[in-house]
């Protein structure tokens, strides 16, 4: 939705997409989506993808070092601005702005302060399709992972859950929409539960990954695996 907004408003030419990836599991940090699907997504959108490879539970220092190195490399290639999809978490915005200011880059927040219920409505109306890949079990039970974001999903969200999951209540994988040349095909796989017992230091690193921050301890997450359908099989 953030990329869509940037393309709608002009102002910036988007040179690349940046995603942090867990090096060991080859999955998107926190979201748990396989790298193959991420690659297909970027290819369908038609914008080059840059992957930031992170170790398995990076501490804050490691996360920041890798992030900084990557951004400096991009800056040297002529990129001036980093666009974030944050909507209303002030401290997260400040954190990002400060970090980017250190390397003379600008942080931009195109979705800032747009009411999240309105945003998710637009998302659905524009024909974007997303599947829930991860939920925080403090907010949502396992029946939500694997569901598609549609009217009935929005209706079933409890009142204490933000419509866009801005507090990390849920994460999704977008597999189709107006900026996609073709939908990403996948099969829905198994459901797994993972619990992270975080140290104080680790909690700040999770925080930097835009996850839940209100309770740094004892976070349990339900994940639904998405299995890519191989190119060769798709042709058959």
């Amino acid at each position: 939705m953030c990329l869509h907004k940037v393309l709608t408003l002009g102002e910036h030419s988007v040179s690349c997409l940046l995603t942090s990836v867990n090096e060991k599991y080859r999955r998107i940090s926190m979201h748990g989506v396989r790298v193959e699907l991420l690659d297909q997504q970027a290819a369908s959108i038609g914008i080059p993808l840059v992957k930031m490879l992170m170790p398995e539970m990076p501490d804050m220092k490691t996360y920041e070092t890798i992030m900084k190195e990557t951004l400096v490399r991009l800056k040297n290639r002529g990129m001036e601005v980093s666009v974030f999809g944050d909507i209303f978490l002030e401290d997260l915005r400040n954190y990002r702005e400060n970090k980017l200011a250190e390397i003379n880059m600008k942080a931009v927040f195109p979705l800032w302060k747009i009411p999240t219920s309105q945003l998710i409505r637009q998302f659905v109306d524009f024909g974007f399709k997303a599947v829930i890949v991860c939920v925080n079990d403090r907010f949502l039970d396992k029946s939500f992972v694997g569901r598609v974001i549609d009217d009935s999903f929005l209706k079933d969200l409890p009142d204490n859950v933000d419509s866009c999951g801005e507090y990390g209540e849920f994460h999704s994988f977008v597999y189709d929409g107006p900026i996609f040349k073709k939908p990403i095909e996948f099969q829905v796989g198994e459901i797994v539960h993972r619990r992270y017992s975080l140290t104080q230091q680790d909690s700040s690193s999770q925080y930097a990954c835009n996850s839940v921050n209100s309770s740094p301890f004892d976070n349990g997450f339900w994940y639904r695996d998405l299995i890519p359908i191989a190119e060769s099989r798709r042709i058959v």
């Binding site: 393309l7 709608t8 408003l9 002009g10 030419s13 637009q122 109306d125 524009f126 024909g127 900026i179």
Partner: protein, 227 residues
């Protein structure tokens, strides 16, 4: 139904920027219900003649209307946009504007904010060279329909905006500081074909006319051919 993306209109001049904006907005999922051309009270249309637009909107298969903008512009644009919102149910206006013109405010953006219409500007402040490259890469057939001295001579009129012409534009822009996309009216274009057109427009007969520093194509006969 699709409230947000369904009630969009695109502002149309028939030139490369309005066409690229339409193309981009379509790709972004906007369902464009019609094209609107804002015309001055005393329409001269040297750069973008209305009869050429008729051919374009026919091959686009989209309805096209004109709305007269009465001076002062501030009020004129407001009442035009208010008309679109209140009488036509329009909630989104798409424009091909790239930049402020000589530091003047962008009337559509300013007035739309006042009236409460969302403005979609997919080309806004984008890198000019990238925009030209995008047009060429996506096989837009664009001709120079109106050029201004001292940047251009009449030999440009009717020529295609292709890779070769783009290279010459880069040179002129480097030497003179001209806006690469002609955003200050240094040149105007007409789109004869693009991926959105169902048929191709062919220019059969035209003459070259001059008015002050402007040299423009007077289009006398057009036709359509199948792709």
């Amino acid at each position: 139904m699709n409230q947000l993306s369904g009630n969009a209109v695109a502002l149309w001049t028939g030139g490369k920027d309005s066409c690229l904006a339409l193309y981009e907005a379509r790709r972004l999922g906007y369902q464009i219900k019609g094209l609107i051309t804002f015309t001055p009270s005393d329409p001269q249309f040297l750069a973008h003649p209305l009869h050429v637009m008729k051919y374009q909107t026919e091959v686009l298969q989209i309805s096209h209307d004109t709305i007269e903008i009465i001076q002062p512009f501030n009020e004129g644009y407001k009442s035009a946009l208010r008309f679109l919102k209140e009488q036509c149910g329009v909630s989104v206006v798409i424009t091909g504007d790239i930049d402020e013109i000589r530091a003047h405010p962008n009337w559509v953006k300013e007035c739309a904010a006042f009236v409460g219409i969302e403005v979609v500007t997919p080309l806004w402040k984008r890198n000019r060279k990238e925009l030209l490259e995008k047009l060429i890469a996506n096989k837009f057939k664009i001709i120079f329909s109106c050029v201004k001295r001292p940047w251009f001579s009449d030999s440009w009129l009717g020529c295609d905006l292709d890779t070769k012409a783009a290279e010459r534009l880069y040179e002129i822009s480097e030497e003179t500081g001209m806006d690469l996309c002609g955003e200050n009216g240094e040149y105007h274009t007409t789109v004869l074909d693009c991926p959105l057109f169902k048929r191709t427009i062919v220019l059969n007969d035209f003459s070259k006319e001059t008015k002050d520093s402007m040299i423009y194509l007077k289009v006398k006969k057009l036709s359509l051919v199948n792709k």
